[in-house]
């Protein structure tokens, strides 16, 4: 244990020598974590919001004739050929008529003289609710239009398309900020280590002559990277949480749409992000030590 104490003491000395750079690095690490997890959080929340719009996401195929029960498995198979779906419902003229009547409520007497034959039969297809499938809705709808007897396919086109583009954009941002996170933290951490090594050049030379072991010299620098990872990423995550609490308080006021019912990462996800950042900082310092140090 006394060795660990030594290493910590030495780390402390290093911090004292270059606290300016250390703070810069800490700042970069937390900012990168903040930016990355910010976009990730938006992405996660958009997907969750998409879930709430499930009705809008249903594709309705209007037909010129009813599908007889014997034919249903065949059509089902044909639909599934294009993509997995969550659910397929065949709606007969009669069912459609009943629904319509219910929707009209007390005005339903306008339908009294009419029969179910005024309603077109339809197939309601609920696609899988993930980005991959949602982004293909247009193609899916074109495909459904080629089903035998299909008159027209309807879905929340505009909304879905915009949603799809937006989600795609956010996804790209998440990926890019992830790359930024890796590059910025890796670079900054190794840059600080390099500065430390250069600043301590004379000291390292003497330590070498005194027969200091590699672990004596390197462990403090490794601890330095580890600490920057731990403090920096925790700070970044804490900032994001503060931001989230603030935003959630603003957006989910009474009467506002449930649409903006924000959720934060699960503790597991938050921990995973922090752990990955710590691993990156430590890795960055390890690479820098290998590269710049002769001991």
């Amino acid at each position: 244990m006394s060795r660990l104490k030594y290493h910590i003491k030495q780390t402390w000395r290093n911090l004292g020598q270059s606290w300016g750079t250390q703070i810069m690095t800490l700042f970069t690490v937390s900012l990168s974590v903040l930016i990355f997890s910010f976009f990730l959080l938006i992405y996660v929340n958009i997907l969750a919001a998409g879930d709430r719009f499930s009705d809008e996401l249903r594709l309705v195929v209007y037909l010129d004739h009813e599908v007889v029960p014997e034919m249903q498995p065949q059509i089902r198979k044909k639909i599934m050929d294009f993509s997995e779906v969550e659910n397929i419902v065949f709606v007969s003229r009669k069912e459609a008529f009943e629904r319509f009547r219910k929707q009209l409520g007390k005005n339903s007497d306008v339908l009294d003289d009419l029969g179910p034959e005024i309603m077109p039969p339809s197939i309601e297809v609920s696609p899988l609710r993930d980005l991959e499938h949602l982004s293909q809705l247009k193609e899916f709808s074109d495909y459904l239009a080629t089903l035998p007897g299909a008159l027209k396919v309807q879905y929340g086109q505009n909304w879905v398309e915009r949603f799809g583009h937006f989600t795609e954009l956010v996804r790209m941002t998440v990926i890019m900020s992830g790359v930024l996170l890796v590059m910025a933290t890796g670079f900054m951490v190794s840059y600080t280590i390099r500065l430390t090594v250069v600043a301590k050049d004379a000291e390292l030379e003497i330590l070498r002559l005194l027969g200091a072991s590699s672990s004596y010299v390197q462990t403090p620098l490794l601890i330095e990277g580890l600490m920057q990872g731990i403090i920096g990423s925790t700070l970044g995550m804490a900032l994001l949480y503060a931001l989230y609490t603030w935003a959630a308080g603003r957006l989910s006021g009474p009467g506002f749409l449930r649409l903006f019912d924000l959720t934060f990462f699960s503790p597991l996800t938050a921990c995973a992000i922090i752990l990955v950042s710590i691993a990156m900082c430590t890795g960055g310092s390890l690479i820098a030590i290998r590269k710049y140090m002769r001991i």
Binding site: S2, I206, L207, L209, L210, G211, A212, S213, S214, Y216
Partner: protein, 260 residues
């Protein structure tokens, strides 16, 4: 009465017997090197026909041979440029010879791996002619470095560093940055650092070059104590006052060769 005699007596470098409790790393290393020595009963430092040429063609040492027994104290003299520092650097593995063999503690230094060189250096205390002390570190920090490298407990470091600084009358400056000291004071810091671990081998390069005779006497007293404790000591010097009338061996280098 010089401070060396007060307080705890120096623990001799060789005072580690297999039976004695030795939980620390330092002692294990020491034992390791000792057992090699005991097994073969060879000189502690053995330089055999060594030639060192600095590029492009400066012959610093030519066919030099020197054997130093364990526990010996020896003076290495010769004019400036004779190659004294070079020989010490070869023994401490700072430089490599172009020809010849250098054995320390019964081991061929040319064949040592990185970790073994580190182990060997932990056993050597070298006071460099150019001091090699850190100007921004305090005197205490400079002297403590060899002990810290061995992960000695803080209390022991404090005790021992103070003891050595007292012996060289430097204890009142221990908290000053070493860069602020006079040359003579810096020299004593370098000597204190070489002696602080009571290493098995001490290489002192011109240790009294900047010191008056009174302080030189203190330095020699410290070396003598360590030598009596079992340390092998090689002192390179052209200060004849410190070896005049000595009972120890004095060898002379001239133009990279020993003279009889």
């Amino acid at each position: 009465m010089p401070a060396v005699h007060g307080g705890r007596p120096f623990r001799p470098a060789a005072d580690v017997r297999p039976g004695a409790p030795d939980t620390d790393f330092d002692n294990k290393v020491r034992l390791h090197f000792m057992s090699e020595q005991n097994r073969e009963n060879r000189p502690f430092v053995d330089v055999v026909k060594v030639t060192k040429v600095y590029s492009p063609d400066i012959v610093a040492l030519q066919d030099v041979s020197l054997s130093v027994d364990r526990g010996e104290m020896i003076f290495l003299t010769g004019m400036s440029g004779a190659g004294k520092s070079t020989l010490l650097k070869l023994i401490s593995c700072m430089e490599r010879p172009n020809k010849g063999l250098i054995e320390v503690a019964g081991r061929d230094t040319a064949k040592l791996k990185k970790g073994e060189i580190q182990e060997l250096r932990q056993q050597i205390g070298m006071a460099y002619q150019d001091f090699k002390i850190l100007p921004r570190h305090t005197v205490f920090q400079n002297v403590a470095m060899p002990m810290e490298v061995l992960y000695r407990p803080g209390r022991e470091i404090k005790e021992r560093v103070n003891e050595v600084l007292e012996a060289l009358r430097m204890d009142h400056k221990k908290n000053l940055p070493a860069g602020k000291l006079s040359r003579g004071e810096q020299q004593r810091v370098a000597i204190a650092r070489a002696a602080v671990n009571r290493p098995a081998l001490i290489l002192a390069d011109e240790p009294t070059g900047n010191l008056d005779s009174e302080i030189s006497t203190l330095v020699m007293k410290l070396f003598t104590e360590l030598n009596e404790g079992g340390s092998t000591i090689i002192i390179a010097t052209h200060d004849s006052s410190i070896y005049e009338g000595t009972s120890h061996r004095v060898v002379r280098l001239e133009h990279g060769m020993f003279t009889a």
